[in-house]
């Protein structure tokens, strides 16, 4: 088990190193950092002095080491566009994205898992076909079209819910939260639904196929033959083994949620990290782009690491295979 975990850790470090190299080359070689920082009227000598001061004339490996050190110690540099420290920018945008992602993940799991189980147990009912039709729509429609449709229906036509921004927020230290005001929750509904719908269909389909697989297995036939009640068969015997892969589902969904948060935040003008990234692309704000990249990669690596380690803990088969294999 230990070598398996060490191997996994080494992989994570490799990924982070690769991403750091990409982010560094972005920052260093895409456009001239000095030209972005100073105005037209700065003399060539001043530019050269600044270049020397910032260490841009040092050997590239030295610069890379400095870059990594800065990132690790939280010195992210300044945005070309707003001139603000990137650390501050991220701190002000992070809560919005985390709250949005959290609520849509909760929606997708709370609805997706029961719906998946239901459609697996009762494949012939009308409700199941209706649910499956909904998932087909969820998979086929682009996220931004879903968002636009919701805005048109609940914002423009019915005028029930706000369609842009976060609404009223409550300040908890540096964390701005939507969770403590009615207006905050109302603003959260449409973006969270938009972001959650695709993840919901994914969860539902995976749980459904997993449950169907389990329902066909020998040990379940045995449970039926023993004359156990269907309730006990479905919810005590089948469900347990269905839910193991749900851990992976959450891991898989994380990437999707982060990526589609960019689209959702753009549709609803939700002031989160995704919108910040999009703005930095539009304005070629390279430092913000590289920091975002590193941050997202770090999040991905941590989540994937946790998922894999949990898997090793949960599923004894992997543990055995891992020790005998290596």
């Amino acid at each position: 088990m230990i070598p398996l975990i060490l191997n996994r850790l080494a992989q994570s470090v490799f990924v982070m190193l690769a991403v750091a190299i990409i982010a560094f080359s972005l920052f260093r070689f895409v456009g001239d950092p000095i030209a972005q920082m100073v105005g037209q009227e700065t003399s060539i000598e001043d530019q050269e002095r600044l270049r020397e001061e910032l260490g841009l004339n040092d050997a590239v490996p030295v610069q890379f080491a400095r870059f990594v050190k800065n990132m690790v110690t939280g010195h992210f540099g300044f945005s070309y566009r707003t001139r603000q420290p990137i650390g501050e920018l991220i701190k002000s945008r992070l809560p919005a994205t985390i709250e949005l992602a959290f609520v849509s993940l909760v929606i997708s799991l709370l609805v997706g898992i029961p719906a998946g189980i239901y459609t697996a147990i009762h494949p012939d009912r009308k409700t199941s076909s209706a649910l499956l039709l909904v998932t087909l729509i969820g998979v086929s429609l682009p996220t931004f079209v879903i968002g636009i449709s919701l805005i048109y229906l609940f914002g423009a036509q019915l005028a029930w819910l706000p369609t842009f921004g976060r609404g009223d927020t409550v300040q908890l230290g540096w964390w701005k939260s939507n969770f403590f005001t009615l207006d905050g929750w109302r603003s959260l509904i449409l973006p969270a639904l938009t972001l959650g719908l695709y993840q919901l269909t994914l969860t539902m389909r995976l749980v459904r196929s997993e449950m169907q697989e389990v329902l066909r297995s020998d040990y379940l036939n045995f449970a039926i033959a023993r004359g156990l009640s269907w309730r006990s068969i479905y919810y005590r015997h089948a469900l347990k083994n269905t839910l193991v892969p749900v851990v992976t589902i959450i891991g898989l969904q994380f990437g999707g949620i982060i990526a589609f948060a960019i689209v959702t935040e753009s549709v609803f003008q939700w002031p989160g990290l995704g919108l910040l990234f999009l703005e930095s692309i539009q304005f070629v704000d390279i430092p913000v782009m590289s920091v975002y990249l590193i941050l997202i990669a770090l999040l991905f690596v941590i989540v994937n690491l946790i998922v894999d380690l949990l898997y090793i803990v949960i599923d004894p088969r992997i543990r055995v295979a891992g020790t005998t294999g290596s």
């Binding site: 490799f14 990924v15 690769a18 991403v19 972005l26 895409v30 456009g31 086929s140 429609l141 682009p142 996220t143 931004f144 079209v145 636009i148 805005i151 048109y152 914002g155 423009a156 990437g255 999707g256 982060i258 990526a259 589609f260 960019i262 689209v263 753009s266 549709v267 990234f277 999009l278 930095s280 692309i281 539009q282 070629v284 390279i286 782009m289 990249l293 997202i296 990669a297 991905f300 690596v301 994937n304």
Partner: protein, 310 residues
């Protein structure tokens, strides 16, 4: 060929080809294929079918802006589906927009196929360190969602290219961005298939004859691994079109004077609250129809070519 011969020929083809047999018996696939063919023809003939040319500034007039579709009281017969904020005919914009979307999607897939199959084939055949490097890169990229990769490459291109060149080269920027975010699927599939083929007798025979590795890879192995790749190509075509639409919708895709479907939808959203719903509805409907049709075809191909599912 006489009618009788033709009938015989058709009977033989339709009986011998399993895929065709299944295709003719799947209503969903037939409908989807019909849509794809109709859209394809409409898009190829766009310059002849479209009443106006949305790229030609002199062909539309700002005075005609935001005219509703023809069946609404203020609609005009000149503009069947109405006009957008610039006075461009929506049918023409949609035809040209879909043409651009499909072209970018198709060329990106071609790019992804060439890159992915080339690397995957070489990795599978040569093995060793090359294989390890390619697969490591693929693993890293696979952990990032495609849209994120595409956005990133788009952003880098914006940084490297000067402003005016950027708009002109947007087509190629999108092709590279989308192609680079989709090559991994092709590489993995090609590599896996190559592993299977590598030990077959015909490959050994070719090697014993002293053919160069390049010749063995691309002349002998490649034709035998193309089948499963067709499925990913179809499925990923829908993904590529969707990626392009998303990038354009986000405002980092094709510029507004040469709108693709995503750009049209982006323009349309500004008019939702003022009641001009047609500007956003029709391009969205066209995009959804296109994506669903390609998706259904891709699903059909996957099921038809996978004997385990039958």
């Amino acid at each position: 060929m006489t009618v009788h011969n033709l009938q015989n020929w058709w009977r033989r083809v339709s009986l011998e080809s399993e895929v065709l047999y299944l295709f003719l018996r799947s209503p969903a696939a037939l409908i989807a294929a019909a849509f794809v063919v109709v859209i394809g023809i409409a898009v190829v003939l766009a310059p002849f079918l479209a009443p106006n040319n949305p790229y030609d500034l002199s062909s539309f007039d700002l005075l005609d802006s935001l005219i509703p579709p023809v069946w609404i009281a203020e609609g005009e017969a000149r503009f069947l589906l109405g006009t957008d904020d610039q006075g461009r005919d929506l049918i023409s914009s949609i035809l040209y927009g879909a043409r651009l979307s499909i072209m970018i999607g198709a060329v990106s897939i071609l790019f992804a196929v060439v890159l992915g199959v080339g690397l995957g084939l070489a990795a599978g055949y040569l093995g060793g360190r090359f294989d390890m490097i390619v697969m490591r890169i693929a693993d890293v990229q696979l952990s990032l969602p495609a849209i994120l990769t595409a956005l990133l490459i788009d952003g880098i291109a914006r940084g490297i290219l000067p402003g005016d060149a950027h708009d002109r080269l947007m087509f190629f920027v999108l092709v590279v961005a989308i192609g680079l975010s989709l090559w991994v699927n092709f590489a993995r599939m090609a590599r896996a298939s190559t592993f299977v083929e590598r030990n077959k007798e015909y490959v050994q025979a070719a090697e014993i004859m002293g053919l160069s590795p390049w010749r063995v890879m691309f002349v002998h192995i490649l034709p035998n691994i193309l089948g499963p790749l067709m499925v990913i190509m179809t499925v990923d075509l829908a993904v590529a079109i969707l990626l392009e639409a998303t990038l354009s919708f986000l405002g980092v895709g094709v510029p507004a004077d040469q709108p693709s479907l995503g750009t049209l939808i982006r323009i349309g959203t500004s008019y939702m609250f003022s009641g001009e719903w047609w500007v956003v509805l029709f391009p969205s409907a066209a995009l959804i129809l296109l994506i669903i049709s390609v998706n259904v075809l891709g699903d059909f191909l996957r099921d038809a070519l996978n004997p385990r599912l039958r």
